[in-house]
């Protein structure tokens, strides 16, 4: 995707001070696959601190889970990705298996209401 000027990753610290497991997995994968340097800014949503930058961003964009990614591009509204594999596919332009992406959506939301 061309024209992207800034990518922010928001990861979470749980109320007990431990890191969110999925956030760690996502960050590790980005690092292992050589994409971490494409992330301009990593911020923390600390459940113990509602003023933490990540919690404020979650509030601003009405996001209910972490990790999530904010993609800023000149002349466009910021785009927010809550599905990591979709972010990988659309922004980092990697090959993503449709089955894996669907499974990730299920992990984010049990979908017990459909």
């Amino acid at each position: 995707m061309t024209g992207v000027t800034k990518i922010t990753m928001v990861k979470k610290i749980l109320a007990d001070g431990s890191p969110c497991r999925k956030c760690e997995e996502v960050e590790t994968r980005l690092r292992d696959e050589g994409y971490l340097d494409r992330i301009d800014h990593v911020v923390v949503a600390d459940e113990r601190d509602p003023d933490s930058e990540g919690m404020q961003l979650a509030n601003r964009y009405q996001i209910e889970r972490a990790p999530f990614f904010i993609v800023e591009e000149e002349g466009r509204e910021p785009r927010v990705y809550t599905v990591f594999l979709r972010f990988m596919k659309e922004v980092l332009q990697t090959e993503v298996n449709a089955r894996s992406e669907a499974a990730e959506i299920m992990r984010n939301d049990s979908m017990d209401y459909i």
């Binding site: 749980l14 109320a15 459940e47 009405q62 972490a66 449709a98 017990d112």
Partner: protein
Amino acid sequence: MTNKPFDAAALAEEYDQRSPQDILKLALDSFDNIAISFSGAEDVVLIDMAVKIRPDVRVFSLDTGRLHAETYRFIEQVRQHYNINIDIMFPDAAETEALIREKGLFSFYRDGHQECCGIRKVMPLKRKLSTLDAWVTGQRKDQSPGTRTAVPVVQDDRAFGSADNPLVKFNPLSNWSSAQVWDYIRSNDVPFNELHNKGFISIGCEPCTRPVLPNQHEREGRWWWEEATMKECGLHSSNVKSGS
């Protein structure tokens, strides 16, 4: 209708304490290309409410291929009772066959339900939602206490929508309790799935749904063999300050 700016965040705040009927009216007045997602369970109340606003409201269901016979009978009963069309979405045959060939018919008990649900529910849902501007769900906060603390009555759907194809999701029942849903069903003679008479509260696929005992939460009837900790990544809204 759909070409005017729709500020989901502002409307979520404005409509948070409004009735489900008011929220449904907002949804149906704001979007022509909108449909209700019907799971074959208590979300039938949405259909009952919606047909009173728009008799030809569009409804769709996901047939995963693993539903109870009672649920199939109920979907048909609802179709006839309200004289509506219900679009039934099916899983992709090749994806389903590949999963079963590779892992058998009950892989979810071993590997977790996400992969199977991804193929049988999420992919057909994604296909359906790609044709819509907005959808309506029966999602409620009380269905999953602790992990579903923030369910706005209306929101931008970031899982299925995109900047190029925005999608709005309405959750008119978000603030209702199960008791309120059942009060409505009884007061309005709304048909319901016969599985509810057999102790089922939350109803999904047959292998992944079971009745619950008195005082058990409805979530204990779904995917009971999995750890609750798998849903740790929700951001607890009580900790998020508004007005930033």
